[in-house]
């Protein structure tokens, strides 16, 4: 990790979301949700393969997922998926140079145009949509 010779901040510095505002939170959530989704995706493919074991195998597997814990995990997956998707769209636009502001002579005190309200709104909406979707998912799953 933080290598003394290179004095790199290491993973701790990379994931620390506290110092640099919401953009850094989005960065972290994007990574976590990406990894989370990948893990789920692998699990999901393994899960669905149980269908090859016929109805019994499938139902056994389904039973495992349809516990409270299973539902909770699924709810988180939904949230991750929505956040990752919405924020992913924002990130792609940003990476293409959309909404990152126009170059202009900077005047002191310097306020970076790329750290603007549009992208902040994008991040907040990703988080809010993710929360709504998660709640909706929970309602559907626990509601029955």
């Amino acid at each position: 990790m933080a290598n003394q010779d290179e004095n790199k901040e290491g993973i701790g510095g990379m994931i620390n979301p506290r110092r640099y505002g919401i953009e850094r939170v989005a960065y972290l959530l994007m990574r976590l949700s990406g990894l989370g989704l990948l893990a789920y995706f692998i699990g999901h493919i393994y899960e669905t393969s149980s269908i090859l074991k016929g109805q019994i195998g499938w139902n056994e597997f389904l039973a495992i997922t349809q516990t409270n814990a299973g539902h909770a995990i699924l709810a988180i997956v939904i949230a991750m998926c929505v956040f990752h998707t919405v924020n992913g769209i924002r990130v792609m636009l940003g990476h293409g140079g959309v909404g990152v502001g126009k170059p202009a002579r900077p005047d002191y005190p310097y306020i970076p145009a790329s750290q603007n309200i549009r992208h902040k709104m994008g991040i907040y909406s990703a988080i809010i949509l993710a929360a709504i979707a998660m709640m909706y998912g929970l309602a559907v799953m626990f509601g029955e």
Binding site: I11, G34, F41, S49, I51, L52, Q55, M92, E144
Partner: protein, 114 residues
């Protein structure tokens, strides 16, 4: 491969996946979540060729996207020629394995080999 091509694929797969995953999930919701997971309805879905095709495409797109994402994170975590080579090939291998494994399910169910 040039990094720009890889990353264009990364973005491209993400974009394509948005639409398809939406369909995939909406199927769950329109059919009613629990019912859609009944063994028979699942089998029926798989047997419906366009749907199975879609699943196959999602599988490929997201495997590419996901494992490339993983590769990116791993490349940034640590550097070194051997490590980086291992990460690149490892991710491709994992990707292929996952696609193969998932395809096996889809193809076998679709062709009625259960």
């Amino acid at each position: 491969m040039r990094e720009s091509i890889i990353m264009k694929i990364h973005y491209g797969t993400a974009l394509a996946a948005i639409a398809l995953v939406a369909v995939h999930i909406l199927m769950r919701l329109t059919q009613g979540f629990a019912e859609s997971l009944e063994y028979d309805s699942v089998i029926a879905n798989y047997k419906f060729l366009p749907y199975a095709g879609m699943l196959e495409i999602i599988l490929i797109l997201l495997s590419i996207h996901g494992f490339n994402g993983l590769r990116v994170i791993l490349l940034e975590l640590k550097q070194g020629q051997r490590y980086e080579k291992a990460v690149s090939y490892g991710c491709v291998a994992a990707m292929i394995t996952l696609i193969a494994y998932g395809s096996r399910t889809i193809i076998m169910v679709n062709t009625g080999m259960t």
